[in-house]
Symmetry: C2
Subunit: 139 residues, 2 copies
DNA sequence: TACTATTAAATTGTGTGAAATTTAATTTGG
DNA sequence: CCAAATTAAATTTCACACAATTTAATAGTA
């Protein structure tokens, strides 16, 4: 068996599925005027408001090279605010604006819409999560 | 349970794993002077030389907006050649150069290196593939 | 206390991805 | 046969990702 044949690759399906998921999210997220990475940042902030750029980056595995411009776009949309910490002027604290906070209500049904559009059972999804979490925990 | 909590998301792990896989490939692919998407294109061509841009795009789920500049970079590296079809001047045929063909030898051990670096059993990887293929087939 | 090292963001440069438009070539229907 | 529709790439625009460097602020140390 040829190791270099595309259909024998294990990683290509993961790569394809990830792109497909982002595409599936797109129509739902367009209603919120968010891209998928922007949505992930908002999830992090909805869970705990007032985090630094690095804290957000740790949770999403993104560095400042990605986050700085993304956060500036969220700032332009007026759903977050960026301010320097008083204790340490190096750190930038990201906080939700009122409209960023209220966007959470509109986002409530996004997960169920998405899962519905994938046409797969919750059980299979759990299995998928378990295996991926196991791989990621080894990294 | 809060549907909007990051750790309850099913898609975030897939997104994270895909990025992590690309990062894992990077050091091995740097030896070949290829990025991961460029490597995927080469896999397609090593399997069958002389395909059109659309044929490559169908196999990798990429459109000309992504492929055209990518293919031009591979052309600059002199591992592929681009030529218009004589039958239909609209289509561009991508073919391997001698050095593109011989790059396949250097690529032979990439898959095993990659799987080794993921520290997961082949069995688990098969399970992962099966679930993902099932999801993708429903799309 | 200066000097150095470290840290946090920002910046720069390269390379995807996707949507929308454009250009050129080919097909098709009247 | 010829105008209209279709098709294939290319182009344009926007938004990630990541590596590497830079800038500014803080911490540590002789």
């Amino acid at each position: 068996m040829d190791q270099l044949k595309l259909h024998n690759q294990v990683c290509f399906p993961v790569y394809t599925l990830a792109k497909e998921i982002v595409n599936r999210y797109r129509p739902f997220l367009q209603d919120l005027d968010l891209t998928y990475p922007q949505y992930l940042v908002m999830l992090v902030l909805w869970e705990k408001d007032g985090q630094t750029v690095s804290q957000i980056g740790e949770k999403l595995n993104l560095d400042s090279g990605t986050l700085t411009p993304l956060l500036k776009r969220l700032e332009q949309k007026k759903i977050i605010a960026r301010s320097r910490s008083e204790k340490d002027e190096r750190t930038v604290i990201i906080s939700l604006t009122a409209s960023g906070e209220s966007l959470k209500d509109k986002a409530q049904n996004v997960p169920s819409q998405l899962v519905g559009s994938l046409s797969i059972s919750v059980d299979e999804l759990q299995k998928l999560r378990r295996i991926i979490d196991q791989i990621l925990s080894n990294i």
